[in-house]
Amino acid sequence: MMINLGTSLKTSPPAAAAMTVAGAEPPPRRRRRPLLPYGLLLPAAAILALTLGYPLLRLVLISLQDYGLRSLFTGVVGWAGTANYIAVLQSPDLTPVLARSIGFCAALVIGTLVIGLGVALLMRQLGRRMRAAVMFALIAAWAIPNVASTLIWQWLFQPVYGVVNWLLTRVGVLGDLTQHDWTTSAFSAFTLVWLLVVWQSVPFVALTLHAGLTQIPRSYYEAAAIDGAGPLRVFTTITLPFLRPILGLVTILSVIWDFTVFNQIWILTQGGPSGRTTTLGIWTFTTAFSKNSFGQGGAIAVVSVVLLIAMTAVYVRRLVRSGETI
């Protein structure tokens, strides 16, 4: 198959083009059975409704209640009206926590996506063995249980005995770091957590993007090579348009996950020093579980969902539309 890169590819992504053509006239048999798609969706919808949808409604309900431990044991709940929301919105912690969460989330998403995409592209270019090695590294990092990876991180970076401190001291650029404690300043504490989260999330992004890349027909690249297109042009005219839906998906999911990241920060810094690494995830946890104020924790969760929707609305819309061709 030969295509003219100069015209068709620039204006319309090949995937979309193929789908538009193929889907322009839906076959009549599909119209005759309007119930079939619902039947296909039913299992997914039922499971999601039971274990995420209904709890989500419960969460909204709880956020309007005075729901604490006593309510959990006795089932007796009092209404709080908007008190939980007012408490959250008036809290002096709100603005710094949000600023930190957004900034840290951006740093995580950018780091994860840049490295993940780079690795995915690299893997397509590698020989069989080298690719297997990269794949192995990705899966290995992904498979390490959380309890172990956070512990290893503590060991790698612990003052006096940490191997990273030792290596950095050996390299010598930053001076003697053997006594350096990474958790004593907000910046280096964030760096420590950033390294861990990125290390853990790159495998997911890289493997998903790599799977997406394998779907691009090689013939497009061959055609591009014949047309003498440079690597950057090939990337922007073939790879990127093809990859866009999956890239969009992993971006949104990364934003969602990184915005509320909790475990890694909690174990490495507990939100310290002096609360300066306290992000939304930490705040939700300490409110809901340390203070056992599930109502107020619920309010924080609802507020952060609303924020996430606001932040991602444009993108979600485009993502949903990206397949609107049937």
Binding site: A22, P55, G281
Partner: protein, 270 residues
């Protein structure tokens, strides 16, 4: 160019594998050696004692069995359910489709710590607490959004013409799904099943909260049993973690490579 690429790949592997290597290295050392001011990069003196501690710790086999059962069921159910949903979303147009897609993304946005209590209350009201079914459904729901969206992306990439051509040639629906759709979305299925596997395999919190009785615990609960009020058996914990991660790595490294290699010779070639 080739050298540059291989160098970059090697560098990546070294950086990404270093923590893994450090875990394995530590697991084979007497635990106290972790605290030497000059790090030891090879496990000498070498000892399997940590592994012996780990596998002889009570509950290992019971929790391993539970984990295998739950994880296998979750991966199978999640993939099938998501594949059906993705088919509906890409091959049919019907009211509520966009709403479903957006809804699925939105439920992802709730911070997990905030979901624990509401989820607990929901499972309580349908009497699924302390059952593998309740725990399994929880995991399926946690992975479905990603699975549905990803498979939808992959199904989009496949021209409907292909299926129609096959139907014209006399192939039944089932044949079309098996012979044409499935092979083409295989990379997507592999990627999502890794995701589903690791989510179900690694979860601690839900397994601990949903399963009231000890007999229903999974391996991650066993893993945290190395930490007690009197101190943590770090040597045992790190050896146990190695054992915990190893089968996943080996299995998926093999599966992924074979399937993806097989796929590139597939039908989309143009």
């Amino acid at each position: 160019m080739r050298i540059a690429r291989n160098t970059a790949a090697t560098l990546f592997c070294v950086v990404w594998l270093f923590p893994v290597y450090w875990m394995v290295n530590t697991a084979f050392k007497p635990y106290g050696d972790i605290l030497s001011t000059t790090p030891r990069f090879l496990p000498f003196p070498f000892t399997p004692a940590n592994f012996v501690d780990a596998v002889t710790k009570s509950g290992f086999l019971r929790d391993l069995g539970n984990s295998v059962l739950i994880t296998a069921a979750v991966v199978a159910v999640a993939i099938v359910v998501a594949f059906l949903a993705a088919t509906a979303l890409t091959r049919f147009r019907f009211p509520g489709r966009r709403g479903f897609l957006i809804g699925v993304l939105v439920v992802q946005m709730v911070p997990v710590p905030a979901l624990v209590i509401p989820l607990f209350l929901s499972l309580k009201s349908v009497h699924l607490l302390n059952t593998f079914l309740g725990l399994g459904l929880t995991y399926v729901a946690l992975v479905l959004p990603f699975t549905i969206w990803t498979l939808r992306g992959f199904l989009h990439g496949i021209p409907v013409e292909l299926e129609e051509a096959a139907m014209v040639d006399g192939a039944g629906r089932g044949t079309v799904i098996r012979r044409i759709l499935l092979p083409l979305v295989l990379p997507g299925i592999v990627a999502t099943s890794v995701f589903a596997f690791i989510t179900a395999w690694n979860d601690f919190l839900f397994a601990y909260v949903v399963m009231k009785d000890q007999s229903g615990y999974t391996l991650p609960v066993w893993l945290v049993s190395f930490s007690t009020s009197t101190g943590t058996d770090y040597g045992g914990l790190i050896a146990a973690s190695t054992l915990f991660a190893l089968p996943v790595v080996v299995f998926f490294a093999l599966v992924q490579r074979r399937l993806v290699e097989g796929m590139t010779a597939g039908a989309v070639k143009g």
